[in-house]
Symmetry: C2
Subunit: 503 residues, 2 copies
């Protein structure tokens, strides 16, 4: 840029101003998104969607401003730049390169399509009718492909998507991962299925939502998720969103005939919230807080959900309170029976309500469908039937309708392809993190003693505070002292279920 | 603009694109504002406030874009422009002229100050400590004055503020209005105070909020305020906000020892919501829907609250349901006793809980304080004591603390000076509208028969659908066939309270 030679300090200032502008639009879009998914009146959706797409376009213009991209390019190679900013600028630069190749009007139209597709999914799910959603799914897949093709990369489209959610991951690597899972889990599941079945019917009595909400108040207090930095709402599909470290929102969904669904989804989402809350505040508004990979994020939410909230130690504290909230329903159920019931492994058709053992198979179905969709092997037409067939094959269950079948998850409605596999990967990460944590902390005693904050603090110091400063493999070495090893996860499952079912 | 001569159609298209851009930022700011006042975690306020101030600045830049202001100037005098757009463009042009004189950085700083001042007010109110809020109030008054001075108008500052909320109104006109009120209401209040007092203690028993919420569900159904176009949340100070005709949000506040507070505030806010909902959709996103004057808006909310919800006819439908919700508290209270109790006229210190008769005096206190503040007669220091003194003088009550004294209202915290008088004016408008409505409809029968929608439809056809197409005086003539006459209001109050108290 001739005639416009800036000093390093001027460049840094321009870069910081740019981050601020970017974060203002991101904040607006985050709040509009939370609003949309929680309380916004449905008839106003079209009006709002059109305008939030416009604002997303404004953000797009900021993110891909050629002068800024040039500045990022210069800054990332400047010897004066510190490590934090170097990492951030590399991420910003990559993001800009991936985005700026897309014509703005197509980007805006895609944002609008995502919103419309979400609205169609809500409608389709409420009517349990895949045909309402199918045209949107077809369109959003077509447009997603087009967006990725603009990058003009040699890499396979779906590999690019996988890499966006978890840097470094590919179909090849996920295939290896899922093969390892199948090898040890399928025989284990078969053994469990043949073993003596546990009683879990009492979990599915009528639990009035009002009473569940009262129990929730004390659960949120236990989690230290308070109104100074967080807020829990309700939505069709639980999620977490945030604007900064001190503004993390979660949602849950109450199910009348399932007393643990809202509890586990709450612990899961608050796990996500803690990650953002605990990122070093110096990264506020920066890609180092907002860009954390999905696998890493899911590792924290699923660590909380599975490795903390599905333990006897956790329920030692909570179960007496739950019994008090539901004396008729649970008064005669012992904590041992309750613990066994919430850990029953039984193939089912709803992912978010699945047990730990069969859960990865739910992910496998989605991963294989996504692979098929983006490699041109599967089409959206009749995909509900394909879905049901795969559930029969992998989990041995008959999906009764689209609502609990292909329409159960929000992800495809907003174009989040490549996200699902990170749930399984993150769960596997979490096992290795837990192994490391247990060397430092007596986790069970802390859980029973209402000291959840001590556990969260360990996660903060070892994982959360870094935000996206490091990628998963590097962080894994820092935390556990070794490379990611799927066997921590498989050993954990084998040990837990062998014991639980006396195999 | 040489070398850039546009056709009329091109100008019109530019104007429409500009309205769209404008409406996108307005929508974002409305949703961020609703979020802030209802659920947003407090510790994130500073982060959010800074960014919403930036977005308000972006809106400012759009609104005051010199090329657009020039275009508006040309369009408003173009003979081809239709009546709707002519009116809208005149309003846009006036707004731009009033705003563009302010330096953008000062405007942005002012938006931030408003948010910070709101946060301080929340804190001050919760601690009942005016001294926490005083520095912000002082600052926001100073800055407001500065903003208005930029307009370089000959008119008195406070007159300009009054005109912004209700076009055409001035201190002179309000003085005449309030004098008329005082002349007839002060003796009436004296007579009522001397008359035999009604029992209303039963309204102030303990009414668990949970049970109030259950009653609320059926009230909202009666009002036809459903989730397709509206949503009710809770907030410290009830308000209504909207993004378009099909997205109108209200809040209410539940008070444990007041069974009608949330009911009346709900009917009030939903009255505002109906106004926006019923504006002709062709005005969506335009100043003709969003710019409706405060007096006109308050006329509709207070029409619903006072002239509909404080009647026997309304409670004929609702009271049996309220009794069912609170059998212990209200089982032995007849509907006649209940009606009398909710209409008891008794000087008190909280405006939003005041009766119809003494309500205008609460407004008078605020009006006189605002006049004093902006004419340099009163200062913010010790204003809580000034407040308390005036309450003693006008209403004869001793204000026990700042929380229910000077800190009770949100308005001054966000710089809404000149708004309060429109509450009284709007209430007076409403009396004249009701007089017109009663010629066409049997309002009482409709209220008792669960036909609230018929009444709302009359308001839609006669008032709401026009949005801000006409100013209050013109609309008043269209609806009632005559000029605004304060005596409709005073006659109504005199008749109602003479009967109620057997004067």
């Amino acid at each position: 840029m001739e005639g416009n030679i800036m000093t390093y300090e001027e460049k840094l200032q321009q870069y910081k101003d740019w981050i601020f502008r970017r974060s203002a639009y991101q904040m607006a879009l985050a709040i509009i998104g939370i609003d949309k998914q929680t309380v916004a009146p449905s008839a106003g959706a079209a009006y709002r969607d059109e305008r939030s797409a416009y604002l997303a376009g404004e953000l797009f213009s900021i993110e891909t401003d050629p002068a800024m991209v040039q500045l990022l390019k210069e800054l990332k190679d400047d010897p004066q730049i510190d490590g934090d900013n170097k990492r951030a600028i590399e991420l910003y630069y990559k993001q800009a390169m991936d985005t700026m190749c897309i014509p703005k009007e197509e980007f805006v139209a895609y944002q609008k399509l995502r919103d419309e597709s979400f609205d169609a999914w809500i409608k389709a799910k409420s009517q349990s009718d895949y045909s309402i959603f199918e045209p949107y799914l077809k369109k959003i897949i077509e447009v997603s492909k087009k967006m990725y093709r603009y990058r003009n990369s040699d890499k396979n489209l779906y590999d690019q998507m996988l890499d966006d959610y978890e840097p470094g991951m590919t179909q090849e690597k996920y295939d290896v991962f899922f093969t390892a899972l199948k090898e040890r889990l399928v025989p284990l599941i078969q053994k469990v299925t043949k073993a003596k079945q546990k009683n879990e019917a009492f979990l599915h009595q009528e639990f009035p939502i009002e009473d569940q909400k009262k129990f929730m108040i004390q659960l949120l207090a236990y989690l230290h998720f308070d109104s100074s930095w967080g807020y829990q709402n309700e939505s069709e599909h639980p999620f977490t969103s945030w604007t900064c470290e001190n503004d993390c929102r979660t949602t849950t969904k109450y199910v009348t005939n399932d007393v643990v669904s809202a509890v586990l989804s709450t612990v899961h989402e608050v796990g996500h919230a803690y990650y953002e809350h605990n990122v070093d505040p110096k990264y506020d508004g920066m890609i180092l807080s907002e860009g954390i990979s999905s696998g890493m994020h899911e590792s924290q939410s699923r660590l909380c959900e599975n490795y903390l909230a599905r333990t006897t130690a956790f329920w030692k504290y909570h179960y007496p309170k739950l019994q008090k909230a539901f004396p008729t329903q649970l008064g005669n159920v012992s904590i041992e029976e309750f613990y066994e019931a919430i850990n029953v492994a039984k193939p089912s058709f709803v992912r978010t309500e699945a047990d730990e053992l069969t859960y990865p198979l739910h992910i496998l179905v989605r991963y294989e469908i996504e692979k098929g969709l983006f490699n041109g092997i599967i089409s959206t037409e009749g995909l509900n039937e394909t879905w049901n067939k795969m559930y029969k094959e992998y989990l041995g269950v008959d999906v009764p309708n689209d609502k609990v079948g292909i329409l159960q998850d929000v992800h495809w409605s907003d174009g989040s392809f490549g996200y699902f596999p990170t749930y399984a990967l993150g769960t596997a990460f979490a096992a290795q993190y837990m192994h490391a944590m247990r060397k430092d902390l007596d986790v069970d005693t802390l859980l029973s003693n209402n000291q959840y904050d001590v556990i969260m603090n360990w996660l903060k110091e070892h994982i959360h505070k870094y935000g996206f400063r490091y990628e998963a493999p590097e962080l894994m070495k820092m935390v556990s002292g070794e490379e990611f090893n799927v066997n921590y996860y498989l050993d954990y499952l084998e040990e837990k279920y062998t014991k639980l079912y006396n195999l």
